[in-house]
């Protein structure tokens, strides 16, 4: 820390110009502040949301890539806007990131950019993975190991995967200038050390900030309701809830599985507004589950903590882990996660 030279007076100019901006409310920063104020002063989440609609994926998506994203456990992070990120430089980023990873792994040995390592990094866009046209294009980063085998059966093994996306992120877009790319949701699968290295590189290169995105019980109930509300052709898994009771020496977990059709029937009975989910309905849905459980086991689940929700659409854990199962509702699930991520970085 260098010492501040207080003898040099600071120009006051900026304070006044910002004061003016305040009254006009023109700058992105001001809009930012406004939105935070709104979010903080009112109920944090809007009381109603849309039920995820069938396949909102845009046509130009790559089914193989989308399939790759399903049935995997992803750890969630929120990410502040990337500064000077460019989709035209993905090749260059692959090269730089792989050099960075190699350098990190070799702990300090001199490494030349472009040298041959036994790993390879690829950047690729996930076409069509967006909610609106304004949303930034989603992209995928993979760390592959180069096998030592001869050429013909050279198959790269995927060591780590991470992807960045923004689904219906309008509220964030409005508050940044065009130097920034908004991909507030980051999902990673693979060793955490790799996540850390990639994250560090992104933070250093694009002046952004990653924070783990935990999902609190309130949002988990929303997920439970919204995902139960989704129309399914066939159910692949039971609807399951996991509650945690804090007690010593070990915490007690209560698992509560319901047949998905029963869950849907319950939802339909509490659901009124077509196409939408309201806070009231979510509360009612959960209350019904609680009272049912209480009738049988005399345990008040409302006094415990909801830690996991799994449905045929997706399953989510309070630690910020998610597994998306249903291709149809991929966008819907991601839209909600994007909303949570944006809330966290506001």
């Amino acid at each position: 820390m260098d010492s501040y030279d207080t003898s040099e007076s600071t120009p006051r100019h900026s304070a006044s110009s910002r004061l003016k901006d305040y009254f006009i409310g023109a700058t992105p920063l001001q809009k930012r502040l406004e939105s935070v104020r709104k979010l903080t002063s009112f109920i944090p989440t809007p009381p109603r949301r849309k039920i995820p609609q069938c396949s909102q994926l845009q046509e130009d998506n790559d089914p193989q890539k989308v399939a790759f994203l399903l049935h995997k456990q992803w750890t969630l992070y929120s990410l502040t806007p990337l500064y000077k990120f460019s989709y035209t430089n993905l090749k260059e980023y692959s090269r730089l990131l792989s050099a960075f990873i190699a350098a990190e792994k070799q702990k300090g040995l001199a490494v030349e950019v472009g040298e041959d390592f036994n790993i390879k990094v690829t950047f690729s866009t996930l076409l069509g993975m967006k909610g609106t046209q304004r949303d930034s294009e989603a992209f995928l980063v993979q760390i592959l190991s180069k096998s030592q085998l001869p050429y013909e059966n050279r198959e790269h093994k995927v060591l780590w995967t991470g992807w960045f996306c923004c689904i219906f992120g309008d509220s964030l877009l409005e508050t940044v200038s065009e130097d920034f790319t908004c991909v507030p949701l980051f999902l990673a699968n693979g060793a955490e050390t790799n996540t850390a290295i990639v994250g560090t590189w992104f933070q250093k290169t694009f002046d952004c900030y990653f924070s783990p995105l935990a999902i609190n019980a309130f949002n988990l109930s929303w997920m439970a309701a919204m995902w139960t509300a989704c129309k399914m052709d066939q159910y692949m898994a039971a609807t399951e809830f996991l509650w945690s009771v804090p007690c010593s020496p070990q915490s007690l977990d209560i698992s509560y599985a319901i047949h998905p059709e029963d869950a849907k029937a319950l939802w339909d009975s509490v659901h009124k507004t077509p196409g939408e989910v309201t806070q009231e309905e979510v509360d009612l849905f959960m209350d019904c589950l609680y009272s049912h459980f209480h009738r049988h086991f005399k345990i008040h689940l409302s006094a415990t903590r909801l830690v996991r929700v799994s449905t045929s659409v997706a399953s989510a854990h309070t630690d910020g882990k998610i597994k998306i199962l249903c291709h149809k509702y991929l966008i819907g699930v991601l839209a909600y996660l994007t909303e949570l991520a944006i809330f966290q970085i506001d």
Binding site: S14, S16, F23, L29, R32, T80, L96, Q203
Partner: protein, 743 residues
């Protein structure tokens, strides 16, 4: 950085040289003993092998002498069997050298021979390879050898070998001062591509702080531009940077380990032997490596170093787009001014248009020059980057977000301190801190990082109070009422600072441009409203706090401090605002038992009067600006306070208006004669002054008559009070009371 490693290396060097220094004196004695031993064995004839050995060694020594003399003389041209003799002598030298090493004189002569080019380059190579000292090499020999390099008699490969030898044997050279004088010569040899790596290594060992000169830095950078990122050049550059960080602006990859090709491998075994001779078993192989010697305990998996990122130029992200941009392009482009070079304010001014910004904007917090820059920059994206980074970092680091995790408490406190220092420096708050306060205040216990947290409150940027109230001030009020008196005082203190900051911003803004053209024109009233709402909020807090804390003098001081700011807004900040204190505060202060409170109240009343008078005057002068005329209510309120004060303190006719107490009640309480009990003589806060005053007059008296203080004595008494330091009272009486009305 590499400094630690370097220090370690030089320590190791020192260690070896120390050991060898001591060895210089010791071995003589040991040798004598050896001699004695061999003599003894000779005498007794007990051990023949020992005898043989000694004999053989003697022979070897003799042969060596002959060989050395042979080389010294140079090849005999006439001799046919020259090669054979040469071979024989060379073998002798090699044998002795690898077995026991050579004495300094031997090395001196042979080095001369090898570099003078008397023999062919193959022979020179062989000679150089066996220049292994028994213990030490004299510095003079090296200097002489170097002088041969200038003559140009030896081939390139010999030169390379010589430098390699020099690097390998560096630790065995007895002194280095003379060699260091040749620094410039060695440096010039960097030009030679073949020599460059070895010379770099030598320079790396040789460089002292005084050797690092700007022209050398320039030369090295040129070389690097020419040859690209070479590890040996980087090693030398980073050493230079360590010695003179101001001279080198390139950001060297701190994380890379920069190393030299192992030049000592030719002599590995020999070096080991020499070291063993010098100091017994070697402590560890001498590593000449630069690298990340600092081992940070990996506290967090992600940003392992510190919360605030290190200042690095944003070269990476900028250049990503431009393929094939080499370091030389980067260095030669005059477009931007690298951050690492930025050391002074004039530099900032000169380069402000082309300053290269840090890759992570958070780094500016630790750099006052960049804070200057941030302060006047118009680029919104810079502020946004800082905003995002700071918001997220505060959120991540905030310790009361993490349950039961107070380990990083100290670190978080330091981080907040850094932010506050930056805010004080800029005289401006960060928006990120404001949003952090919104989010964290409802969860704050009022204890953790209290001082820092409240300072952040005082730097909230000016904005509409009614908007801030539900986000911030309502939560703060809850904490205020339920906490200790000390917390209350701290809150009042920080709110005073907040008020002051707001007033400064507003006053600066008004005087920046003519009010008429400013977009603020219509909203100046709005801003004044906001300020007055803040003052009224503090008024409410204070009134309740005074009651909760039973009129605590301590608390009243903090409250009146706040109003000392408030009463002077019109004159000090030239803002059209006068807000009076609430009744609860006024009467608490007026009836206080503490003279300093009363004094402070008098001072505030005096300033209110001046401000209101000034406002009235201005109103009369410019009748147009009606918007900011104070309502007559303000004047009435002030007059009410003034009458009450004069009535109590001066005319002994207290509470004439608005207060009626049943005389019966007063009689029951035994204070039927209450009228003068609050005047300057009888006021409980001043009673002790009155007694002292009277005792001063007639020290022998056992009973003093309070009522005797009247007329002239009243005036003396006043002078006495003023001399006792009640300056506020003095100002109040001088300005508000006409002296004709002496009671």
């Amino acid at each position: 950085m590499s400094s630690q490693k370097r220090v370690k290396d030089s320590q190791a060097q020192k260690r070896t040289s120390q050991v060898s220094d001591t060895y210089e004196t010791n071995p003589a004695g040991e040798e004598k003993e050896d001699l004695n031993d061999s003599k003894r064995s000779l005498k007794h004839g007990q051990d023949n092998t020992a005898d043989d050995c000694g004999h053989a060694d003697d022979q070897g020594e003799d042969a060596l002498q002959i060989a050395v003399r042979y080389f010294e003389k140079g090849p005999i041209k006439t001799s046919q069997s020259k090669d054979k003799i040469l071979e024989k002598h060379l073998k002798t030298v090699e044998n002795v050298a690898w077995k026991n090493g050579l004495a300094p004189e031997g090395i001196d002569i042979l080095l001369n021979v090898a570099l003078s080019g008397k023999f062919g380059s193959a022979i020179n190579t062989r000679i150089l390879k066996c220049m292994i000292p028994t213990t030490l090499i004299s510095e003079d020999s090296v200097v002489k050898a170097v002088s041969w390099l200038c003559v140009g008699k030896c081939s390139g490969s010999t030169k390379v070998l010589f430098y390699r030898w020099l690097v390998a044997m560096f630790d065995f050279i007895d002194h280095k001062d003379q060699i260091n004088l040749l620094y410039g010569f060695f440096f010039a040899s960097l030009q030679d591509d073949a020599l460059c790596p070895y010379v770099c290594h030598l320079l790396y060992l040789l460089t002292r702080k005084e050797n690092v000169k700007p022209f050398r830095v320039r030369k090295l950078l040129d070389l690097q531009a020419k040859m690209g990122m070479q590890p040996h050049l980087q090693a030398l550059l980073s050493l230079y940077k360590f010695f003179a960080p101001t001279l080198i602006s390139v950001s060297l990859p701190a994380r890379k380990k920069i190393y030299f090709k192992n030049s000592e491998n030719l002599w590995k075994a020999a070096l080991f032997a020499v070291r063993q001779r010098n100091q017994g078993p070697p402590p560890e192989p001498l590593k000449l490596m630069l690298g990340p010697a600092q081992v940070h305990p990996v506290k967090r998996k992600w940003n392992s170093c510190s919360v605030i990122p290190v200042l690095n130029s944003s070269s990476c992200s900028k250049e990503c787009g431009k393929k094939g941009m080499t370091l030389s392009d980067y260095l030669s482009s005059n477009g931007s001014f690298p951050l690492e070079q930025l050391k002074s304010f004039p530099q900032l001014l000169q380069n402000i248009h082309c300053l290269e910004l840090p890759s992570q904007m958070g780094a500016v917090l630790n750099n006052s020059l960049l804070l200057h820059y941030i302060n006047c920059v118009k680029d919104e994206s810079i502020l946004l980057r800082l905003y995002h980074w700071l918001s997220q970092t505060l959120q991540e680091e905030c310790i009361w977000y993490k349950m039961n995790n107070y380990e990083h408490g100290k670190e978080f406190t330091n981080f907040l301190d850094t932010i506050i220092r930056a805010e004080c420096f800029l005289q401006e708050g960060f928006y990120s801190c404001e949003t952090f306060l919104y989010k964290s205040l409802p969860l704050w216990d009022g204890f953790c990082c209290r001082s820092q947290f409240l300072q952040l409150v005082s730097w909230i940027p000016f904005s509409s109070f009614s908007e801030l109230k539900p986000l911030l001030f309502d939560h703060l009020a809850q904490l205020f009422f339920t906490s200790t008196i000390y917390f209350k005082c701290s809150v009042l203190q920080s709110l005073k600072e907040l008020l002051q900051n707001w007033l400064l911003w507003l006053s600066a803004d008004i005087h920046m441009k003519p009010v008429m053209n400013s977009p603020l024109e219509t909203t100046l009233g709005g801003s004044m409203n906001s300020v007055s709402e803040l003052i009224q909020y503090v008024g409410r807090l204070s009134t309740t706090a005074v009651r909760l804390e039973n009129n605590s003098t301590f608390l009243l001081h903090f409250i009146l401090d706040f109003y000392e700011k408030v009463c002077d807004i019109y004159i000090n900040y030239n803002l059209p605002l006068v807000v009076l204190f609430p009744l609860g505060i006024f009467y608490s202060a007026l009836l206080s038992l503490d003279s300093s409170i009363l004094n402070q109240l008098c001072y505030i009343m005096h300033r209110y009067r001046n401000n209101l008078t000034a406002a009235k005057k201005n109103e009369l002068v410019q009748k147009t600006k009606s918007e900011f005329n104070f309502s007559s209510k303000t004047y009435q309120e002030f007059n009410h306070y003034l009458t009450a004060m004069v009535g109590c303190l001066w005319t002994s006719r207290p509470f004439q208006k608005g207060l009626y107490i049943d005389p019966e009640v007063l009689e029951k309480a035994g204070i039927a004669e209450y009228k003068n009990s609050l005047n300057l003589v009888h006021h409980p806060a001043l009673l002790s002054y009155a007694v002292s005053f009277l005792l001063q007059e007639c020290p022998e008296e056992t009973t003093v008559s309070m009522s005797s203080v009247r007329g002239k004595k009243w005036n003396w008494y006043l002078d006495y009070l003023f001399s006792e330091g009640l300056q506020g009272l003095k100002l109040f009486i001088r300005s508000s009371i006409h002296h004709s009305s002496v009671p």
